[in-house]
Symmetry: C2
Subunit: 199 residues, 2 copies
DNA sequence: GAATCCCTTGCAACTCGTTGCATAGGTGTG
DNA sequence: CACACCTATGCAACGAGTTGCAAGGGATTC
């Protein structure tokens, strides 16, 4: 996978993944392990078991030339448009079949979540300095993806604010998060919870 | 499900679903059938087999009072934030591990797709008239969800345009779709293709 | 008249992803 | 010392969703 260009073990990768890909792709260690195993089968990776002092052994994975080719191919492959799918949209759409006030509550909660995230992302954005044009290619890509995250949060905030407003609610009371986390917050970030029921 | 408030059969629902939910939730007839069966088990729906002249029998599903309660409960249930997940983001992020020009091509293709969709949605938006405030609750919800679709397309267009621009590409050449489909296009709409490889 | 398509329902098999649990040694806390 | 926790890997089971295929009759087309 695009980030495995630096070798590492399953858990390491999981964490690296979470940290750098976190907000636009989440994966559990389980998934990573399984995919890693599959990729070894396919010849895209090699494994090397490394013993560690005072710790369980770990398996260090490395990308093979074939793997690099696979990756390059994948990158050049046109992907079909992504299917947007959202419980929240369903709730907005179907609000009149239930307690509208309750739905608005749910939306308001989401709104603050998105504000929090946005604040977090904006914080991260600062770390790229004032002139993104001066960054090297890889870092610029990172920056641009982060910009996407920011735009995404703005999209959500705009949308549900619209909805709330149209239903006589004042989204401004769900204030634009005042002071975000001081510098870098270790515990914060894209906190994911378990999935809810669907339909 | 939020739309099954009007009775109908599996295939009918599938089509209704596609038409009204289409762009923010896609479901195949298979899924619908299975979920329908499950909901009958759960007591949220009743079935009635209806014979038709010159056609296979169909099963008409209806929501029970218990089903309405289930739905209302679901609507009021706070859902955890949705996990954004995007191949495209991965490609942008990892473009330097492959042929960047090819990635830009992929992005350009997406850009036109999103422009097309946006055009389509804007067309639909017109049908709601000039004063959305005057709509009844249900129709307004429909309208507001459509607004979300529009915002979503704008998000995508903004994002990938940013990316292209940052990499010396001029997104304007991927022009803002000139003349959209004349009035209502039967064959167009959220056209979905099969999924591509992941990671 | 034959071929083809549509309608309706459904089965089987698969992928992707999640959750819960197990193992097995090492470290830190009360 | 016991308990909880971290690291590291992994199994088993499940749920959601997709694809391919089937059956059986009606309608359309050549």
């Amino acid at each position: 996978m695009a980030l495995r260009e630096k070798p590492g073990s399953g858990l390491e990768l999981t964490r690296r993944f979470e940290k750098s890909f976190g907000f636009f792709w989440h994966a559990t260690h389980q998934q990573i392990y399984r995919i890693l195993a599959r990729m070894v089968d396919a010849g895209d990776l090699t494994v090397e078991v490394v013993g560690q002092a005072g710790r369980p052994d770990k398996k260090v994975y490395r990308v093979t030339p074939a793997g690099e080719r696979t990756l390059a191919d994948w990158l050049a492959t046109p992907a079909p448009m992504e299917q947007f799918r959202s419980d929240l949209a369903v709730k907005m759409r179907g609000a009149s079949y239930g307690d509208r006030a309750a739905v608005l509550d749910v939306l308001r909660a989401h709104l603050v979540d998105h504000h929090v995230r946005l604040g977090h992302y904006l914080q991260l954005e600062k770390e790229y300095g004032t002139d993104p044009g001066s960054l090297d290619d890889q870092t610029r890509d990172q920056y641009l993806v982060l910009r996407g995250g920011i735009r995404l949060e703005e999209f959500w905030i705009g949308w549900v604010s619209d909805y709330l407003r149209a239903h006589g609610d004042d989204p401004a009371t769900t204030a634009p998060a005042p002071a975000p986390t001081p510098a870098s917050s270790p515990t914060s970030g894209p906190d994911d919870m378990t999935q809810g029921e669907i339909r």
